[in-house]
Structure formats: C-alpha cells, structure tokens
Symmetry: C2
Subunit: 242 residues, 2 copies
C-alpha cells in the first residue's frame, strides 16, 4: 500500500488487554452490531488505501489460535505483553523496517471515521500528531484526606488549554520505536504514545478528534456503540454506501 | 417539601442560555423524546419528595410569556442574565430565605437519576458537594506557537486526581448566595458554582457522578439523548415503572 509520495504508513491496533472493567469476554471481542468490537478497527484501517501494513496485537494466549474472523483482512497478529506499553512495542516490532510512519490505535475506539484517517494520513509526514477533543465538564483536581472516606476537591483546573487525546496517534516509525525501547529500559509507563515524544522534547501536534472516536470503557459505552451501528451513524467500513 | 430532619433543599435549574453551539432553537427547548430538554430536569426534581421549592431561570425575553408546558410543575420562573453567573444569582434570589441548602443544576444535563438526587439530598447537609466522574482520555495541555496554525501539545496532565464535575451541585444556601454576591462584585466568572467555594477556601466534597448525567453540548449529544429515551434507559420521572 502506498500513499501520495510513496510513503508507507503502518498501523498497530492494540487489542492485547483483558478488558476486565466491562466484565465477561474481553471488551475487544464484545459484540457491536453483529461484529466484534476489534473488527471495526480492522475494517476501518483495511478499507483505507493510504495505510498498511496492519499489525493487530492480541492477548498472549490467543495468538496461537486467533479468532477466525480476523482472516477477513490482511493483518499480521502478534502477542501482546503485560502492559499497554509492552503490547505496543510488540506491535511495532511486528512491522517491517521500511515503514516511514505508523499509526498506533486502541481497539477500544471502534468508530474512527474515514475523514479522521484521511487527516491523519495527510499530517503524519510532518511528525507526531494526535486527535484531540475539548472537555465539556469543569475539571476538578481531587485530594483525599487521610482516614476520611469523602474525596475532597483541591481546586478547578483551567480547561481552556486542556484536551482529551484520542487514537490513532501518528509518528515517524524510527522515532517511536526508539522512544518505546527507551521507555521499556527506563521503566516508563505512559498512558499514550504521544507522551513518550513529549518526554523526549519532540513536538506533538493536535488535530481535531471526533465525538464517536471516544473510548469504550463501561457497559454503557457498549450499549452506545450498538446504538451507533443500529442507527446507521457509523456504517461498516467498506460498505458501498459509507 | 421537607426531607428528614425538616431541612429544606431548594433547587435552581439554570436554563437561561441561548444555546448557540447547537444552532436553531436554544438547546434547553429542543425536543428529546417528545419533551423539551428542560422538561426532563423539571420533572426529575419535582418528582423527588426531598427537594423544593424549584426556581427555573429562563432567557430574559421568555419570562413574560413562559412556555405553557412549564405549568405542569410547581416551579417559579425568573429571568436570567448575560452570563451563567448572573443567571444562577437571579435563580438564588428567587428562593425564599428560609431554605437550608440549594442544588444548582444545568438544564443541559437532562438525565440526572433519582439515585443521584437521593445521594445529593443525603450529602448536602454536610456542606458543598459535587458529582464527579473519572476521565477516560489521556489529557493534554495544548499551546499554540505564534503565527502557526498547528496546535502543539505542551504535555500530558496526570489524570489520576482529575475528575469531570457534573451537576446538580449542592451548597448551604446562605454560603453560596454570599459567594455569588462576592463573585459579582469581584467580576469573577466561574465555570461552575463549586469554584466559588474553592476560591473562598470552603471544602467541597466529590461524590460519584453518572454516565448519563453528561452535558448536552453538540448535535450528537441531542441524538444520544433521544436514543436514551427511546431505548428506555432514562424513564420519564414520575412514571410508575421508573
């Protein structure tokens, strides 16, 4: 797969978690509109002719016998690690070294739009880039008094400059591989990959994210995801009417 | 209305905004499941026997001829001001001075549950209290370089202690009235009412908020609100099967 200019943009889809917060089957395999949650990300990236190859990071114990529906796409499956960092690192190692850039994506965000991928593809050549959204709530910093049950508010954080970071996040391939090696050596557990760039002083740009690229974390999010599919708000990638 | 111990808990429902972000009719009057958005808050607080009286703050130009459906509840209507602060202050002035506590609520959060109101009623006697929820996204602090279009990430904010604040927020009545007077004198524009307590050094407690007490800000939120009603996830307050 080649995009304009012949640059190759690989993809790592992180689906190595056990998803215990929702309960039952790990959340990346939960049904959303007749398809596993993870299938939506696989279909979305596969349907975009500007990206590829694609590596899917699965829980360790599933790699020997991956779910058969993954065979619908040209994806490589690799085994995840104990932490998100280890899983992403394993995914990066599963891409060949001729890749120019890489998008790292959390399978818990099933509904990235074609438009967002277009904008990521157009931006990632310029260095690290992340989709960001404003925060609707007033943001409080909490503290807890020792020996007290109640959680006290320490103060309000000015949210003018704050944004919620989504995925996919895009990076020059060599850079993010090196930063992940460093993070593993230094024992750094980042909550996203852009943090590793920030830590190294490498500029990261924000581009507008999307309401429905939100992260599925609770049972209510699964119900919401099913509704988005049922209502036609998020067509199956690759369908002619998308 | 009396709750345990004979304490009276007034309510201010802030619906004085022009709701321009969604476009068209101000958002508090947009249809959600056959009822205006604001009607959901009126019904919820009216159905709870632990709270009242209730003051609804409307846009200035609507107060002379308020929407007839507001007549379904025993609410007092007052005119809002140019800012949320002025509107809340007008709402507080519309409550009689024998109130012990007050809950201040944004009409843009239509689906506060009976359970959350129960917990607020049980807590507000102990001083200021706000419902808070964890943040699912990694939180970035942005900066903009002068003369550049791209928005740069300054860094990642540790979200362990951060929470999104919802409404209703509960306060001792005399305290919040005094703090609002001060804020008006000092020209302070707070993004919520708890901030005025924080500024004055008065402790504010957090209690667990709710997924569906989120704030309607975008067109997608209105669609989501309609689905929550249609799917039976948020029964009309007062219905026997609630």
């Amino acid at each position: 797969v080649k995009r304009d200019g012949g640059k190759r943009i690989g993809v790592v889809i992180a689906a190595g978690g056990s998803g215990r917060r929702i309960g039952g089957v790990p959340k990346q395999f939960r049904d959303v509109g007749g398809r596993p949650l993870l299938a939506w990300s696989c279909a979305r990236f596969s349907a975009h002719d500007g990206v590829g190859p694609i590596v899917v990071v699965l829980p360790d114990d599933l790699v020997a016998d991956p779910p058969p529906w993954l065979g619908a796409w040209d994806v490589r499956v690799v085994a995840g690690g104990a932490t998100r960092r280890d899983s992403v690192r394993a995914g990066l190692a599963g891409l060949d070294e001729t890749i120019d850039s890489v998008m790292i994506h959390d399978a818990a965000r099933p509904f990235v739009s074609e438009d967002l991928l277009d904008r990521m593809v157009a931006s990632v050549g310029g260095g690290p880039v992340v989709p960001v959204v404003p925060l609707a709530d007033t943001i409080k910093r909490m503290r807890s008094r020792r020996g007290e049950d109640a959680t006290l508010v320490e103060g309000t954080v000015d949210r003018e400059q704050l944004r919620g970071a989504q995925t996919p996040q895009g990076f020059p391939f060599g850079l993010i591989c090196e930063l992940h090696e460093q993070a593993a050596r230094d024992g750094i557990l980042a909550s996203d990959d852009a943090m590793l760039c920030e830590r190294a002083g490498v500029p990261v740009r924000g581009i507008p994210g999307e309401r429905w690229a939100w992260k599925v974390t609770q049972p209510e999010d699964l119900a919401l995801a099913k509704w988005l599919v049922a209502s036609g708000r998020v067509p199956w990638p690759g369908d002619p009417d998308r």
